[in-house]
Amino acid sequence: MFEQVKNRLNTMFPQKEVLIFFAAALVLLIVVIILIVSIFSARRTPSSSSPTPTPVTTNSTVPISSEKRFSVIQKSEVSRTTQQEIERLPNLEDTTTSPDGSLHYIFKSPLVSRKNEIVTKDGVAIFERILVPENSRAPGHAKISEFTKRLGQPQEKLRGSRFYGHLIETFIYAEGGVALIGNSFTDEVFEIHLFKPMTTEEYKRLYGQDIGADAEEFAM
């Protein structure tokens, strides 16, 4: 049986042609693999004309407990991460001191006018501002609905952002130590604020500088 097939093939494809065929098929296979690999790697590499994305710091040495983690690009855990740990984090651009003695660590962000930030007092983190990447496939991209699912309805929702625009809202979960700035129309989160649990009034006073002067409370 085997001999019959072999003879048949030899009749159809002389030895030399068979070798050429298989060699060509091998080359083709290699080309296909290279093409597939290049397509997938190009997909993961941002276009050179795009703004530099926020560096992902999932490999940071700062440990964050799961219930306190609200973003994969979160750099710190409030009340736990120490000043020393923060100073070792990558992409630190600047540090300033407030009159109350708190230290503000400014980290790189894709925006020119607004930066990622961690504030420490008495040696530990008390506030973090996370700028959420706009690219829907980037690590850390977030939706308002995801937070609503996890945290429920916010204690307070205020419209008007000095930076992002008059229609943009701040969603305050003050008792949970979380606030978001985002656009309800598109369900996008632009910023995540993490802080010690407090009242909404305290949040607005301490960290609500972006909330527009004409902001009004929504009927919830």
């Binding site: 159809m12 494809f13 002389p14 042609e17 068979v18 050429i20 065929f21 060509a24 098929a25 083709l28 296909v32 093409l35 597939i36 397509i39 997909r43 004309s49 795009s50 703004p51 009159p99 894709p110 925006l111 020119v112 006018s113 607004r114 706009e134 690219n135 829907s136 419209r159 000095r162 930076f163 992002y164 625009g165 008059h166 229609l167 656009n183 309800s184 129309f185 598109t186 996008e188 632009f190 500088q209 527009g212 002067a213 004409d214 009004e216 929504f218 009927a219």
Partner: protein, 551 residues
């Protein structure tokens, strides 16, 4: 046999390559942009200029040749002032504002008053009114101090705080109470560096606006001090009290303080509350309207250099308070269409879209029998209060830019456009609907309509779709496209260095779709016959890249 083997090999090779290309296109390529509609290819019929367009051009030319009268403008909301207890302003307005004060108000006061008015939700005319009612006439050096109740000059120490400082005639006691809030609202911070910069700016402006006068008390150098520190020492220290007084002379701070002071009593009894000794309600409303309109529509008499216009009227618009459950956002910028043709101050430079509102796209063929239905069915746009000509004006705009990505970007919401009020827009997020107010009386109707639609696109599409990060980088590096959305070219000396990113995006959309439109963007805009920022200059390449990528 060899031929068969080669054929099989080729077939397999082509199949595999074809599959890879198909997979790549299907899964990884962005949707192809709709090619812009070129009006010259859109129809073989002879071009026809719609009567609506002829009317628009005529109205622009007519408006350009006239010096707008103080007190005569379309942005003044009579209805709103009636609700405050005022009678209707008289026509023609008998009030004549002090000419020097009017000049200063237009040059330095309007931009700050509009910004403060937007933040506090109060008409800019009310904010500016007090300075004229008090006879201060926007004089930076004015200083009423002490028991004599007279102007003692900018360098007089004040033992009491019962005085007024120039420009907006803000009382420093009020300024002190609102100092931190005013800085945070108008400058985004009240720290030492910001306060020093603003304070030193006041000292510099005194010398600049009033040659021969130098601010020397308490010093000719403003100290490094935060707003909070000044406030804490206001009552106990003559020096700190003087610095607060000088800060209230800053256009932005003074406007905000006055806006808040008047806002506290704004309501049905407002007309009675500001009567004092300044005449009757009729005189007050006449004065408010004169100030409002002088600032918001006052024209420049600067001769044009590149177009057909002897003068360039300017137009700014006012915030209209709406139902609190509906968002209200900022207004459009008044612009003047440049003359059509090669010597236009605008441009048709590289990258100008083929399908644009002015210059490139003239209505062709005949209009559909039911324009309103066409707008509703194709673009989810509903019109309210427009006659046939008004409907055509909107139809022309939408049709001209329909070859771009505009329709798909607009597709996330329905829009109702009203022929009433002052130009502005709002969105009701719960119901995913937006509204635009666009009276046909505007002489820059099409530019402003695209500006307002730019706001709608900005808020109803994701940051990713709108290339927000790329845009913010352009805005941060190149400054604002116009003094309205600035700081214009990063220069804060024009219009107080306004800095509103959402307005800059709306300006981007308007400039892109109106490549032949230039013009001033407010009375504070001192530029001579400015061109279209995107196509008439090479100052905003990053902005232009965003426009091309998005629109």
């Amino acid at each position: 046999m060899r031929t068969i083997a080669l054929q099989i090999f080729l077939l397999v090779f082509l199949f595999v390559i074809g599959s890879i290309v198909a997979i790549q296109r299907f899964f990884f390529s962005p949707p192809s942009p709709v090619p812009p509609q070129n009006s010259t290819q859109a129809s073989s019929e002879p071009k026809k200029i719609a009567s609506s367009q002829v009317r628009t051009i005529q109205s622009v030319l007519q408006a350009a040749d006239e010096e707008p009268e103080a007190g005569s403008c379309s942005t003044f909301d009579v209805e709103k002032f009636r609700s405050y207890g005022f009678p209707d302003p008289q026509e023609p307005n008998p009030v004549t504002l002090d000419p020097e004060g009017l000049k200063r108000w237009k040059a330095y006061g309007v931009a700050a008053a509009v910004k403060a008015g937007e933040l506090v939700d109060i008409d800019p005319g009310i904010i500016g009114y007090w300075s004229f009612a008090e006879g201060i006439n926007y004089d930076l050096t004015f200083n009423v101090c002490g028991p004599q109740n007279e102007n003692v000059g900018i360098n007089a120490p004040c033992a009491t705080n019962n005085w007024q400082a120039g420009n907006f005639a803000a009382q420093p006691a009020n300024a002190n109470n609102l100092l931190k809030e005013a800085f945070d609202a108008m400058y985004g911070g009240s720290d030492e560096a910001t306060v020093k910069k603003v304070g030193q700016g006041v000292i510099d402006k005194v010398a600049q606006r009033h040659p021969g006068t130098t601010l020397t008390f308490p010093s000719s150098t403003f100290p490094s001090v935060s707003a909070q520190t000044l406030t804490s020492k206001f009552n106990s220290s003559e020096t700190e009290r003087a610095w607060v007084g000088h800060l209230s002379r800053d256009d932005e701070i003074g406007a905000y303080v006055q806006a808040k002071v008047f806002k506290a009593t704004l309501g049905p009894g407002f007309a009675d509350s500001i009567l004092y000794g300044y005449g009757d309600k009729q005189k007050i409303i006449n004065t408010i309207k004169a100030v409002h309109c002088a600032g918001l529509t006052g024209g420049s008499t600067t001769p044009g250099t590149g177009g057909s216009f002897g003068s360039i009227p300017t137009l700014n618009l006012v915030v209209q308070p709406k139902n609190p459950d509906i968002w209200v956002i900022n207004q459009a910028t008044g612009q003047v269409f440049g003359a059509r043709g090669g010597t236009s101050p605008g441009g048709t430079g590289p990258g100008a879209p083929a399908g644009s509102v002015d210059g490139h796209c003239l209505p062709t063929g005949t209009y559909p029998s039911d324009l309103a239905a066409d707008l509703r069915d194709k673009y989810k746009i509903t019109l309210s209060g427009y006659d046939t000509e008004g409907t055509k004006m909107i139809f022309d705009v939408v049709t001209c830019i329909s070859g771009s990505r505009f329709p798909s970007l607009l597709g996330r919401t329905t829009i109702t456009i009203y022929n009433s009020g002052s130009p502005h827009m709002s969105c009701d997020v719960a119901n995913k609907v937006c509204e635009i107010w666009m009276p046909t009386s505007l002489n820059a109707f099409k530019f402003i309509l695209t500006h307002e639609m730019g706001h709608v696109l900005f808020y109803t599409n994701s940051h990713e779709t709108m290339h927000f990060t790329e845009f913010e980088n352009a805005w941060g590096k190149e400054g604002g496209l116009s003094p309205y959305s600035g700081p214009f070219k990063k220069d804060p000396s024009i219009c107080g260095g306004k800095s509103i990113i959402e307005e800059d995006y709306a300006e981007l959309v308007a400039y892109y779709y109106n490549p032949n439109s230039g013009g001033k963007t407010g009375a504070c805009d001192t530029r001579e016959n400015p061109p279209n920022s995107l196509f008439g200059t090479s100052d905003f390449p990053l902005h232009l890249d965003v426009a091309k990528a998005v629109l």
